[in-house]
């Protein structure tokens, strides 16, 4: 059900100002808070001014919409102008109004709970928008509306100067509000930072303190083997083997976790990095694993970047190590490393492509999570920390990572690093 509260004919800018005043008074009487009063009056003024400018004038109607549970203040602005041609672009906000002033339709839409627009070439434009009356405000009754109409009739239009002064006050209030929110954001950010640091310290000391008991389990089971080996039966020796193997695994896990925690905490030393060199250095320790295997390497020339050389070497070591590991079943494996321009020359994209076991793309989002693994430990060893590390490092350097793959066809891991806006001198 819809009840008209007031209508304002708008033929010029003064009328638009008047419509704005009425909207604010009504919003106030209906129980909207100051911020919402400003939002509503700004929206009315914006759309009314459009109707004057582009539609040659029209009418603003302020309505109470009763939707059972909730009530809304609705505004209908109608003009008889030529209609809007690029409506879709305007709604998206990608089209800027000719005057370039104000919020435009897209901005107004953001201020409201509901927004609709009808426009036909040559048949004028009708804009309807509404905001829900706060649940805490008393429900608007017919009596209240009558009272409201009386009050509106008694209040005369303020002079434009008064309206300008009011708008100024609104602006100052909004600025103050923004300043407070800004302060709050800074505070929230600081808290997050502290929480994050605490979490890192916690992760570090947990993985650190886990090493001691692990060393003891390893040590004493080993001592047991040397001391009692002769008197132990095969089954008992097997138990001890399992203990040793599990200890070894947990040791690797803890070391990886420590490295992961460290790559998030260590201060970065940002400098010019030779990526060809970084790849060569990362390949060196892989030698033991690649010896005796037929791997065809195609390594393109890589651009220099700005980053932390130690962390970037770690990125390459993880990606190349994975490529070597997951092509293990190929009699002749191919691994490619390359780089290309990205984002219109604003970033460098690096990639490592292999023809190994690949992965199902529906799990792509899980690849970079800590301890996430797509293969069993029996198939391929690993802890699931490597790619999490890659993501963390690349993100810290302002870049992003992604992966494409297909089961049994191979995988491509890419990372993009932003190019510095100015070349370092």
């Amino acid at each position: 059900m819809s009840t008209e509260i007031a209508t304002v004919a708008i033929n010029d800018e003064h009328d638009a100002v008047y419509a704005r005043q009425r909207a604010r008074v009504i919003a106030e009487l209906l129980g909207f808070d100051r911020m919402d009063q400003t939002r509503i009056s700004t929206a009315v003024s914006e759309i009314a001014r459009n109707a004057v400018q582009y539609g040659g004038g029209g009418q603003v109607a302020l309505l109470l919409e009763d939707a059972g549970q909730s009530q809304l203040l609705a505004v209908r602005v109608r003009d008889q102008g030529p209609g809007i041609e690029a409506l879709a672009a305007i709604l998206e906000g990608s089209s800027v109004s000719r005057t370039g002033k104000g919020l435009g339709i897209a901005g107004t839409r953001r201020l409201m709970d509901h927004f609709s627009i009808e426009s036909a070439t040559g048949a004028g434009t009708t804009v309807v928008f509404a905001k829900a009356i706060p649940a805490a405000a008393p429900r608007v009754t017919v009596d209240m509306l009558r009272h409201l109409a009386d009050m509106l009739a008694k209040t005369t239009a303020d002079a434009p100067e008064t309206e300008a002064r009011l708008q100024n006050q609104e602006l100052l209030r909004t600025l103050e509000e923004l300043r407070l929110r800004d302060q709050e954001l800074v505070r929230v950010n600081e808290n997050l930072d502290t929480a994050n640091k605490e979490l890192e310290a916690f992760a570090y000391s947990v993985s650190h303190d886990l090493r001691a008991p692990l060393r003891h389990v390893s040590g004493f089971s080993e001592l047991l083997v040397t001391r009692a080996s002769d008197s132990l039966d095969e089954k008992s020796r097997h138990y001890l083997d399992v203990i040793s193997e599990s200890v070894r695994q947990m040791g690797v896990l803890i070391d990886d976790l420590l490295q992961f925690s460290r790559s998030g905490r260590t201060e970065m030393k940002i400098t010019d990095v030779d990526m060809d060199e970084a790849v060569a250095e990362a390949l060196e320790p892989l030698q033991a694993e690649t010896d005796g295997r037929a791997i065809e390497w195609t390594i393109g020339a890589l651009p220099r970047v700005v980053g932390d050389p130690v962390l970037l070497r770690q990125v390459w070591a993880n990606l190349l190590g994975n490529a070597v590991k997951f092509t293990r079943r190929r009699a002749h494996a191919h691994i490619e490393v390359g780089a290309r321009d990205g984002n219109g020359g604003h970033e460098d994209i690096f990639w490592v492509r292999d023809d190994g076991v690949g992965f199902d793309s529906k799990y792509a989002h899980k690849l970079f999570g800590v301890f996430e693994r797509l293969h069993s430990a029996a198939e391929f060893e690993g802890t699931g920390v490597g790619l999490a590390n890659v993501q963390r490092i690349v993100t810290r350097l302002g870049g992003r990572v992604w992966a494409e793959g297909e089961p049994d066809r191979g995988a491509t891991f890419s990372f993009a690093l932003p190019r510095p806006t100015k070349a370092p001198s």
Partner: protein, 149 residues
């Protein structure tokens, strides 16, 4: 008068680690030359022949093996105290710890440690590391003259 060979002072609060370290040194008959203290305060008391150690024979160990995380006074504080004590400043000190933290390593070297050894989790590597440290410092290294007083 018999000449006492300088031994090894092990400052370590974990009894399990003490046991494993002594096991590792046993093979080269270094174990019977190990003196164990359980925190940093005791370590300094031993070196300065104070408190419970005031009646011990003179002469300081060939090497002090220091854990970092210890009650009362940690390994880095002990190291600092040794290097700023004119009677102890040349004492060979090896940090033997679980920590691979960069700041611990940097701090140790800044304070003038002689070596920094991370305890490997794997026992065989641990034995190997401790043995090598023991052999080198107790048998191969030439101690500063004042130790064999």
């Amino acid at each position: 008068m018999t000449i006492e060979l300088p031994g090894i002072l092990l400052a370590e609060d974990s009894p399990h680690d003490v046991e494993l370290t002594i096991e590792a040194l046993e093979e080269h008959h270094l174990a019977n030359r190990v003196t164990v203290v359980h925190d940093g305060v005791e370590a300094l008391e031993y070196l300065r022949r104070e408190g419970p150690f005031k009646d011990r024979k003179p002469g300081n160990p060939a090497v002090v093996l220091l854990d970092i995380k210890m009650p009362r006074k940690d390994g880095l504080e002990v190291l600092r105290a040794i290097r700023t004590d004119s009677a102890l400043k040349r004492q060979p000190v090896v940090i033997l710890t679980s920590s691979r933290e960069e700041q611990d390593i940097i701090m140790s070297y800044d304070l003038g440690v002689n070596a920094y050894v991370v305890k490997p989790v794997d026992f065989l590597s641990f034995v190997d590391a401790v043995k090598q440290v023991g052999i080198f410092w107790a048998l191969i290294n030439e101690s500063p003259p004042e130790l064999a007083r």
